[in-house]
């Protein structure tokens, strides 16, 4: 019973979130630190907590591709772990040592997945999106798209500046001073490029601003 007019459903939901984060985090750390067979303990705990706190998410653990991936994780170490001599010995002796290492890794992957599902399923995506959107998410897609398109321009700046420096004597003498000069020149041209891009962005958005309802924000530098 929650006193003081607090919504009991909200309090229960908050408790679930805290439990999910604590159990998820603890099992994750334990799975990374423990070896075979103790690693099974955090794995079991994470899966049991997932069943109790969010049964619907357990279905994600029955994905056939996940189990195919885990099978690869189990089998591959037989050929890659240890020195060539050890590998030959392991394969000759049934590969028990490498197989145990592979199973341990697979259990760790499974625990990590269960812990992530546990934590992720209890935190509302809208809240995460709101936080990201408020600080870094806004306009990030546009920035990524512009960044990829600017790669040739950036490489051209690097090429041009290096060429200019080479024509003035290159790095034969005063290497450190010339390196500093190169970094400053590239930096200056990069900042100038940002100004050009910002101006182009504002120009491109001018029709939208002209027809939009909102007033332009008064703050900011004048280009």
């Amino acid at each position: 019973m929650v006193a003081g007019g607090t919504d009991p459903h909200a309090a229960r939901s908050k408790g679930r979130v805290v439990a999910a984060i604590v159990i998820g985090g603890a099992t994750l750390v334990a799975a990374l630190m423990l070896g075979w067979p103790l690693v099974l303990l955090p794995a079991g705990t994470a899966i049991a907590a997932l069943v109790v706190l969010n049964r619907r998410q357990v279905r994600a653990l029955f994905n056939k591709w996940l189990w195919l991936g885990l099978a690869v994780v189990v089998v591959v170490p037989v050929w890659v772990i240890g020195t060539p001599g050890e590998r030959e010995d392991a394969q000759a002796g049934g590969g028990l040592l490498a197989l145990t290492a592979g199973v341990t890794m697979a259990v760790r992957v499974l625990t990590t997945l269960a812990a992530m599902l546990l934590i992720g399923s209890c935190i509302a995506p809208a809240a995460v999106s709101r936080v990201l959107g408020r600080f870094v998410g806004r306009d990030l897609g546009l920035a990524c798209a512009i960044g990829v398109n600017l790669l040739p321009a950036i490489l051209e700046i690097l090429r041009r500046t290096t060429l200019a420096l080479r024509l003035r004597g290159g790095f034969r003498r005063h290497r450190l001073a010339n390196l500093k000069r190169l970094a400053t020149a590239v930096g200056v041209q990069t900042v100038r490029l940002t100004e050009d891009v910002a101006e182009a962005l504002l120009l491109a958005q001018a029709p939208a601003r002209a027809t939009g309802e909102s007033e332009p924000e008064p703050q900011g530098p004048q280009p």
Binding site: A101, L201, P216, G220
Partner: protein, 212 residues
């Protein structure tokens, strides 16, 4: 109307997008050229070397934005996201680990610079923290793969594959080797952070802008 669907209304917002895009592209260009080469030939500590370049780029972007009307918050992590988005253009081994590393380093710098005004020492501290990420990432991956035997495997790998024996490190234990690498990485990160501050100051001076 949802804010995210609005056009870029202010010059400050357009400048944020432009700085993030351009500096992210610069870091991405370094990662898919120099970084891909270093990863392919397995140069020891190549992750830390690329982190140094990333630290300088992120911090210059941050100071450039802070010199304008924008406070620059969120810019370093956004630069990391753009660089990580460019990375799949180069198909080399270890690309996914590099992507995770880039995002972790960007987040680390963002957290270090989140509160307070930027200064040379704050940039140095941010660089110091970010430079430890490759070591932490390597140890985490090795712990996932080898469990409790990760430390001895790490030592063996460092001495045999990365030339530690030739450098006279054979007498060191795994713990002291990790400590040594952590200190070296931290000093490297500190220097890179301070270099980022100085470089940004020089760039802003050359452009005739007032550096903070």
């Amino acid at each position: 109307m949802d804010e995210s669907s609005e056009p870029l209304r202010s010059p400050a917002r357009a400048q944020w997008v432009a700085v993030v895009a351009v500096f992210g592209a610069v870091w991405g260009a370094f990662e898919i050229s120099l970084g891909a080469f270093l990863r392919s030939v397995s140069i020891p500590m190549h992750g830390t070397l690329m982190t140094g370049i990333g630290i300088i780029i992120m911090l210059v972007a941050r100071r450039t934005l802070s010199a304008g009307s924008h406070h620059g918050r969120g810019a370093t992590i956004a630069v990391g996201v753009v660089a990580a988005a460019i990375l799949p253009l180069s198909v080399t081994r270890g690309m996914h680990q590099a992507m995770v590393g880039i995002l972790a380093e960007a987040a680390c710098i963002e957290i270090a610079l989140w509160i307070g005004r930027p200064s040379r020492w704050r940039f140095g501290l941010a660089g110091l923290l970010a430079a430890l990420i490759p070591l932490v990432q390597l140890l985490t991956v090795m712990t996932v793969q080898y469990g409790p035997g990760a430390l001895s495997t790490f030592r063996e790998m460092l001495l045999t594959k990365q030339g530690g024996e030739r450098l006279g490190l054979a007498a060191f234990t795994a713990g002291s080797l990790i400590g040594l690498i952590a200190v070296a990485s931290a000093v490297f990160g500190l220097v890179c952070g301070m270099l980022g501050w100085s470089l940004a100051g020089q760039i802003l001076t050359r452009l005739g802008r007032k550096a903070e």
